[in-house]
């Protein structure tokens, strides 16, 4: 192959620039990444998932144990105006949770229509929010958890438009205004105004070998958390023995939250 001098110089120059960039990337680090690891006892999965057993949930009327636990553990602010609401896990009715199958079917048992379906981020396999985020502030971890990097979020709210489940919240104001007088979890930060937030499947607790706060708080055992990729896991056992629904399956997002209805 004949390479002219000019061309060679061009290629060499470009390669040099690339090399310099890469080297800078390497040496920029102050410590080596190889010196970070998972803490001992951390729960490590390939595809975390949650199964909500509606036969057990709602046994106790007006029970809010899981929601209260989450609100405390994550210092979730409370605002009176619904417009500014922040919620990671909350309750809604069958017809609003399963919109695609419920609106045209009035013959569902009354009992089911009145159940308090728990909703949260679905930690999708194909998360549209991750697809649209312009800064990778929201991303899918190798264990299937769709996480948020609040440090990087620019607050464009594209993810909120993209999420078909209404799981995302924006901090319209300083969230600390909504924490006045509330008992805080000193182990966990708050968020700042101008960023999006949502359920994180309690990554911070999994790292310490603990189950998600909502799962731990449920006395009825209605919430089961586990690794979907592990055929022997509790969640897989539940799913193989019971018929479970996911929200809006036709959108191809493949949620990680399952509902055993009856």
């Amino acid at each position: 192959m004949e390479l002219k001098r000019r061309q060679f110089l061009k290629i060499a120059g470009a390669a040099g620039l690339l090399g310099a960039g890469a080297a800078q990337g390497l040496f920029e680090g102050t410590a080596q990444a190889s010196r970070v690891m998972h803490p001992e006892g951390a729960l490590i999965g390939k595809r975390w998932a949650m199964v909500i057993d509606m036969r057990k949930c709602g046994e106790k009327e007006g029970c809010n144990d899981c929601i209260n636990a989450c609100n405390f553990v994550h210092n979730i602010p409370h605002f009176d105006t619904p417009k500014e609401e922040i919620k990671w896990i909350w309750k809604d009715e069958y017809e609003h949770v399963f919109t695609d199958i419920s609106t045209l079917d009035p013959y569902v048992p009354e009992r089911i229509k009145e159940l308090p379906f728990l909703v949260m981020c679905n930690h999708c396999d194909n998360p549209p929010c991750v697809r649209v985020c312009p800064t990778k502030a929201t991303f899918r971890r190798p264990d299937g958890i769709v996480a948020m990097d609040y440090h990087r979020c620019i607050g464009c709210r594209f993810c909120m438009a993209a999420c078909p489940y209404g799981s995302r919240n924006f901090n319209w104001r300083d969230p600390r205004l909504g924490l006045k007088g509330r008992k805080l979890n000193y182990e966990f930060p708050t968020r700042m105004r101008g960023v999006v937030e949502k359920c994180n499947f309690c990554v911070e607790r999994l790292a310490k070998g603990k189950m998600p706060a909502c799962v731990e708080a449920c006395k009825e055992g209605a919430l089961t958390f586990g690794d979907l990729a592990d055929p022997n896991s509790e969640v897989r056992k539940l799913l193989s023995e019971n018929y479970a629904l996911r929200r809006k399956p036709q959108l191809g997002t493949k949620p990680s939250v399952f509902y055993i209805i009856a």
């Binding site: 970070v36 690891m37 998972h38 803490p39 971890r141 924490l179 006045k180 182990e187 966990f188």
Partner: protein
């Protein structure tokens, strides 16, 4: 030159405004900050010199490792394993943010946004 009077006057005003911070602060050197160290005798994550010069880079890396890679245990130069967390590791020892962190940050006039979310229990009284 057209309008030389106006142009020169304008230039003088511009230079005066642009250099205002310099002559305004002349002879008024702020005293070096003296952060109050509560942790006498204890060792920080890395050496004192390293922390002094590079804590911000380390925090940035800690953030990405913990949050993005999900790896939350850090092995330091001394071979000790440390749990990665600004709020639960750093600020457990340096629980006096106002007399430690803020001292130098204020001196250097930088406002890291760490504290928009992370806090020490004592500080949280202000807004909680």
């Amino acid at each position: 030159m057209y309008d030389s009077g106006k142009v020169i006057a304008g230039l003088v005003i511009f230079v005066a405004i642009a250099t205002f911070p310099f002559w305004f602060g002349m002879g008024k050197a702020a005293p070096m900050p003296k952060p109050e160290i509560l942790t006498k005798g204890q060792k920080c994550v890395e050496s004192k010199e390293y922390m002094r010069s590079t804590h911000m880079q380390l925090l940035n890396e800690w953030r990405d490792w913990a949050l993005r890679d999900g790896k939350r245990l850090y092995e330091n130069e001394r071979g000790e394993k440390i749990y990665i967390s600004l709020q639960n590791t750093c600020m457990k020892c340096h629980s006096n943010k106002d007399k430690f962190c803020d001292k130098c940050h204020e001196y250097a006039s930088i406002k890291p946004y760490c504290w928009d979310c992370h806090y020490v229990p004592k500080e949280s009284k202000k807004w909680n």
